[in-house]
């Protein structure tokens, strides 16, 4: 026990704030680095960078999660096919073994990645996802300034992670505390600029996280437990789901912006003799998503689809299957749902039995 504790302590480093860009430029020499940046329009995005000056760590989460964007792109060519005589020639996209460092993501998105890992790599392994995931190293930051819609603290996915990271940075006064969570992460700090962190640095980090949790979140608490109970017990009136469904404009934004949503559709695009097989994001809020070949649709009414979506996110069955509920508290559904149906709103409605 004591040993492991000493081990952990050795896994923590400290870097001066002014050196962070120098360090990042060292990483850029060896890896492809994708990091947050500010667009001229005022929005934020993630892009491959060639110089540390391009990045900003003071950003609002982009509408699409950077993790999802990289590991499970919106549209992906799975294969090209071509008729050759009587048979078909199939060409798979080229795999690369280029290591990618995803720098500066937040804990919510990291949590979502761990969730997606379970879906794409446990049991049936999705090689498209896995080949990218195997090459991905993450550097996440402890978030001390949550946005208006953030509630990661309720989903226990932030503002800081206790495990599952490669490297985790926390801004402490003039330094960043750097927690090392994996050999790949350790590899990144294998240069100058770092010194060993002390116990007091860790204490300061804990204090900061507690302060953030207690004082910085503007959203009212989202009480998942009672909602999970009610959903698992199937004790919610159909009327409530229909009322929620009545607000649904069927845009699918909820699924696309949710960093844990992983449903996709596979389409062949092309002519008779050649074409490509494309996989693209799909949404359980679309009517055709569950329509059967016979034409029968078990979830034709929007209310039924809202119910299905939240069962998938919150029922005990999926909780045990995936190890956590399907929400990391990033609040993107609050931003994006045209009808104002979002996780905190549904949890509240399901808990109280009314909208």
């Amino acid at each position: 026990m004591d040993n492991s504790k000493t081990g952990e302590e050795q896994m923590n480093k400290l870097i001066k704030k002014e050196n962070i860009k120098l360090w990042l430029n060292e990483i850029i020499k060896k890896y492809k680095v994708i990091a947050p940046y500010k667009l001229e329009t005022g929005d934020f995005g993630f892009k491959p960078i060639s110089n540390a000056d391009e990045i900003t760590l003071d950003y609002i989460n982009p509408v699409i999660s950077p993790v999802k964007q990289i590991l499970f792109p919106a549209r992906e060519v799975m294969l090209h096919y071509k008729k050759k005589g009587d048979s078909w020639e199939v060409e798979l996209p080229k795999e690369t073994d280029e290591k990618v460092v995803l720098f500066g993501i937040r804990s919510c998105d990291l949590s979502a990645m761990l969730f997606l890992d379970k879906f794409f790599m446990e049991g049936f392994v999705d090689n498209y996802y896995k080949s990218r995931r195997d090459n991905l190293i993450t550097v996440n930051i402890t978030c001390t300034e949550p946005a208006d819609w953030c509630f990661c603290v309720c989903a226990d996915c932030g503002p800081s992670k206790e495990e599952g990271f490669d490297l985790q940075l926390t801004e402490i006064n003039d330094n960043y505390l750097v927690e090392i969570g994996s050999p790949a992460g350790k590899e990144l700090v294998n240069i100058d600029y770092f010194k060993e962190a002390e116990e007091s640095n860790l204490k300061e980090k804990e204090r900061l996280v507690e302060e953030t949790k207690n004082n910085k979140f503007k959203m009212p608490t989202t009480y998942f437990s009672k909602a999970i109970q009610n959903i698992t017990a199937n004790s919610i009136d159909k009327e409530l789901w229909d009322k929620l469904g009545g607000r649904c404009l069927g845009c699918g934004s909820c699924s696309f912006v949710c960093p844990t949503c992983s449903c996709f559709n596979v389409i062949d695009e092309g002519e008779d003799s050649k074409g490509k097989r494309v996989r693209s994001w799909d949404s359980c809020m679309y009517c055709g998503f569950t329509r059967e070949t016979s034409g029968y649709n078990p979830r034709k009414a929007p209310g039924d689809r809202v119910k299905r979506r939240y069962y998938h996110k919150l029922s005990y069955y999926y909780l045990t299957k995936m190890g956590s509920c399907g929400c990391v508290g990033c609040g993107r559904c609050i931003v994006s749902c045209l009808g104002g149906i979002d996780m905190p709103m549904v949890v509240k409605a399901v808990r109280r039995g009314k909208v």
Partner: protein, 563 residues
């Protein structure tokens, strides 16, 4: 992997979107968080832009019809042929017509306006504005944008007249819900039940011919004039009037069932008088405002030209001999499919410029491939009147060209050189010209004569767009995901009517208007009134134009059993 901020090319909301082009495809669509319209969200159409514009069905080369089928030719050959034909047409002022797109950019619109008036020398130029917003034409010089999209969110009373708002303008529906959540009252006046009827504190469901009288009465109550109290909805109207008078920030939203409804002219006229600066009409095509603002209209020169419907009629009469149609699948958008088809077939020469081989393009002698708004620079004006820049994400597909460039090159071929070398020249010039802003429209009155109830046609029929279709569906039928969402075409019939006439669920019925007939599966539901049927959804949407008059979404019909 550069993200380019541009404007969604579908409805008139004008969402700011980031598109990421990669190897000739759109790899990603992301709504802008900071754009005042999208604010981090898109509708189902916007999310699927990536599947539409890089479709293998796009036209990539000019086409010429030889013995009934199309053959690819070069731009040079196409221009040669077109200029020869155009030059051979006599009295172009009266025998030539141009129908411009309500989807292409302001710069395209302005170049086409100059092409029509200076090169062809005709005023017969129009967009689909006259089809969709006829009642507004006589008010254009009084019209202005007073209410912004985000004002709606802070409104305390929202009166929605004749609009299935969730379908017509999802971003506006979003604002209505936000206002409702903050305590605003919602009032719905619509002959058809809409999703927002359920959140309305007052819902009036008039029979279609009653709408204009109803609104006129509402105006009288509000303006404290004497009014007829025999109307069955009079208490509700009085309540609306009292809410309106008390409200701090009321907004009236009106849509398709006013503009393209029964007696739309009278209804809109009353709405315009009552609500004036609190009015928010839904302009549901991305740049339909840009088209009229920059001269794609028969009412902006010294002399009036023919509007889109007059051009079709003139073709039937034989006076219009040549049409140049850009980005408008008029066969599907004008209504009265058979008459439109006849008008197009009667032409001596038809040139169609579009992204896809549309139903209209199939009738053309020459088809020119235009590039989409994802492949060129420009600007759009959205439904609140904001001009937003449009930037290219992809290279023009195949040999396709920006519309303004096609007009420019064609005019040079026709022996004139007053056009533009580059895009910036046009931008500079249009800054000074905006016919809508400068109130430069000729006084005109356009009315689409609707049908009336008779013994022969005792039912009102509305042809409803699928929420998945933008305009005619030309674009969105190229998205596999959206095609999956299309439901089989149906007709919704009131249960009492169905019982009296022995019509059962899922039974095939013939819907007959004085223009033609279509067949649909019946769905019995009390969401419609007894004397209304609703023709809904389906790919067959296209053919449902057969029963409609020009420029309207409503007609009168009778039902028969189909064998």
């Amino acid at each position: 992997m550069k993200e380019v901020l541009t404007v969604c090319p579908f409805c008139g909301c004008g969402c700011g979107i980031y598109l990421t082009g990669e190897n000739g495809i759109i790899a990603r669509v992301t709504p802008s968080l900071s754009n005042p319209v999208s604010k981090g969200s898109l509708c189902i159409k916007g999310w699927h832009i990536s599947e539409v514009f890089t479709s293998p069905n796009r036209i990539q080369k000019p086409l010429i019809k030889v013995n009934g089928s199309f053959k690819e030719i070069s731009w040079e050959e196409a221009f040669e042929l077109i200029s020869l034909k155009f030059n051979s047409i006599k009295d172009k002022e009266n025998s030539f017509g141009i129908i411009g797109s309500s989807k292409f950019s302001n710069e395209d619109s302005y170049t086409l306006h100059k092409f029509a008036r200076q090169i062809i020398k005709t005023n017969n130029i129009d967009s689909s504005f006259t089809l969709h917003y006829a009642p507004l034409i006589e008010r254009l010089n009084d019209f202005d944008f007073y209410v912004t999209i985000n004002d709606i969110e802070n409104s305390d009373l929202i009166i929605i007249i004749g609009s299935n708002i969730t379908v017509e303008a999802p971003q506006i529906a979003r604002r209505v819900l936000k206002a409702y959540d903050k305590g605003a009252k919602v009032v719905v006046i619509n002959s058809l039940k809409i999703p927002f009827s359920s959140i309305a504190s007052i819902y009036i469901q008039p029979v279609p011919e009653e709408l204009s009288v109803l609104i006129e009465t509402l105006g009288k109550i509000i303006n404290k004039k004497s009014y007829d109290k025999s109307n069955s909805n009079i208490f509700k109207l009085e309540e609306i009037a009292s809410l309106y008078v008390k409200a701090q920030n009321p907004v009236c939203i009106c849509g398709e069932d006013v503009f393209k409804g029964v007696k739309g002219g009278a209804s809109f006229s009353s709405i315009f008088e009552i609500f004036k600066h609190r009015l928010f009409p839904l302009f549901t095509i991305n740049n339909i405002i840009g088209a009229i603002s920059f001269g794609v209209s028969p009412y902006v020169n010294e002399k009036k030209g023919l509007n889109i419907i007059e051009m079709l009629n003139a073709s039937l009469e034989g006076s219009i001999k040549c049409l140049y149609i850009i980005g408008e699948d008029i066969l599907l958008s004008a209504g009265d499919y058979n008459r439109t088809r006849e008008a197009l077939e009667k032409l001596e020469f038809l040139v169609v410029q579009d992204l896809f081989l549309t139903e209209t393009a199939l009738l053309a002698d020459v088809v020119l491939p235009a590039c989409s708004s994802l492949e060129k620079k420009g600007s759009f004006i959205n439904m609140e009147g904001s001009i937003q820049p449009v930037l290219p994400v992809l290279k023009p597909l195949g040999d396709s060209k920006p519309d303004w460039q096609i007009f420019t090159e064609l005019s040079e071929k026709l022996g004139n050189k007053l056009f533009y070398k580059d895009f910036d020249e046009i931008t500079k010039e249009i800054e000074k010209i905006n016919f809508l802003k400068n109130k430069k429209f000729l006084q005109a009155e356009v009315s689409h004569l609707g049908d009336v109830i008779s013994d022969e046609f005792p039912l009102w029929a509305k042809v409803d767009n699928s929420r998945l279709f933008f305009h005619t569906g030309t674009l969105l039928k190229n998205s596999s995901t959206l095609m999956r969402e299309i439901e089989q075409g149906t007709v919704i019939i009131n249960s009492e009517y169905a019982k009296e006439n022995d019509i059962r669920n899922n039974e095939k019925v013939k819907i007959i208007s004085k223009r033609g007939e279509i067949i649909r599966n019946a769905v019995i539901s009390d969401e419609v009134l007894k004397n209304i049927i609703l023709v809904r959804g389906g790919l067959g949407d296209f053919s449902s134009n057969v029963i409609l008059p020009f420029g309207l979404k409503w007609t009168t019909v009778r039902l028969e059993k189909s064998r």
